[in-house]
Subunit: 203 residues, 2 copies
DNA sequence: AGTCGGTGATTGAATATTCAGTCAACAATG
DNA sequence: CATTGTTGACTGAATATTCAATCACCGACT
């Protein structure tokens, strides 16, 4: 098994996927502000003109790219149904924090942050991220509700707690990508303390 | 008192301040990706060339602008020494959430988010935001330590809790500016629940 | 089997636009 | 007069986008 980003085939068959990978590489390398069609073309083994054969504009390409990325991200979240709710929560957060801290993903994470920041002035971006958030939040909410039914968690407002948890993840990601020396270990530890003191029903 | 953003004089005497305001307006209107010297000049009642009389480059202008913004932000955080620690915490968060939710500040918040996102690929930006975070986090940490000494709070790791609180604020801000329908009321309510269950020493 | 016609993929060069930065000149002010 | 503020026109480098022209393949027709 070759070492590579787990988001892409080593040799993408599909043209679209090849374009997505080229965009990903260019975005990681140069950042959103310096992302040009030329640079995407440079990471692409076909000509840059070909990009316009598949997309109407740079903007259309980027919108498609964002959808592609978010879809893949949703695909990577762990979904074991087996364990107890509190364990599922912890496993999920372990996964998320591992991704945030993974040095190999640093550039990707930064790129996602930049992409998301575009939502501030781009509605189509904003809608996509909002949908992604909703999906993610629902998964968390499910786990919390399950935990309540299992008698493991207190009878909290599951939606409200899920909102908070997603906000924390978002804040941690944002900090990790835009701050030097963010103390994410502290946040992770405190997150467990939060779950313990707020959710766990110790009887 | 004329209605306006509280960040600027209605008629800035200082040229620098006028440039800052023009930059702010251009950034709010077009977003960081489409922020050009031309557009800053358009919001400026003097010519765009004059900008180069005051700054060596667009980059230098933007760096100065960021410093200007962060300075103003630090100036607006409330610092009453009087009350009990838990009240000070709540007052502080009320202030922050009011700013996040204030419709008049929406553009400002978005502008800050976009600026911060630039830190992903710009070191000088990142350093400035990191310094700002540190300052903010210290204030929160002070309050928590004070609360512990007052016997109001449990003997938690103040630095760790402060990290979490800053992360939550950051996440809330990020969501407010990049998501449609973010449920910030839920986050605010849950934040109180967190403080209650994790910090408050009920004896 | 072999040829013809069509279709989508692909390319390199050309075009039109945008943008940061410069400059020489003009205006105001002391 | 000298200094400082101010301007509009200008430039060269990028950048997005277009376009005319190949190329590779495939199905139909003889």
């Amino acid at each position: 098994m070759p070492k590579r980003t787990d988001l892409f085939e080593s040799d993408p068959d599909d043209t679209r996927e090849a374009i997505m990978k080229a965009t990903y590489d260019a975005l990681s390398k140069h950042g959103y502000a310096d992302l040009t069609i030329q640079r995407i073309g440079d990471e692409f083994d076909k000509s840059k003109s070909l990009l316009y054969h598949h997309y109407d504009s740079k903007d259309a390409l980027l919108v498609d790219f964002l959808g592609f990325m978010l879809e893949r991200m949703e695909g990577t979240i762990p979904l074991e149904e087996a364990a107890a709710a509190d364990d599922r929560l912890r496993v999920g957060f372990d996964h998320v924090f591992a991704e945030i801290l993974d040095g190999d993903r640093e550039q990707f994470n930064r790129a996602m942050t930049e992409l998301r920041a575009q939502s501030a002035h781009d509605d189509s971006f904003r809608e996509q991220f909002t949908r992604n958030d909703r999906y993610f939040e629902s998964r968390v909410q499910d786990i919390i509700e399950e935990g309540i039914q299992q008698g493991i968690f207190r009878e909290v407002d599951a939606e409200q707690v899920a909102s908070m948890l997603v906000t924390i993840i978002q804040g941690a990601t944002f900090q990790a990508t835009t701050s030097t020396e963010p103390d994410l270990d502290a946040v992770r530890t405190e997150l467990d303390a939060y779950i313990e003191s707020r959710l766990l029903d110790d009887d």
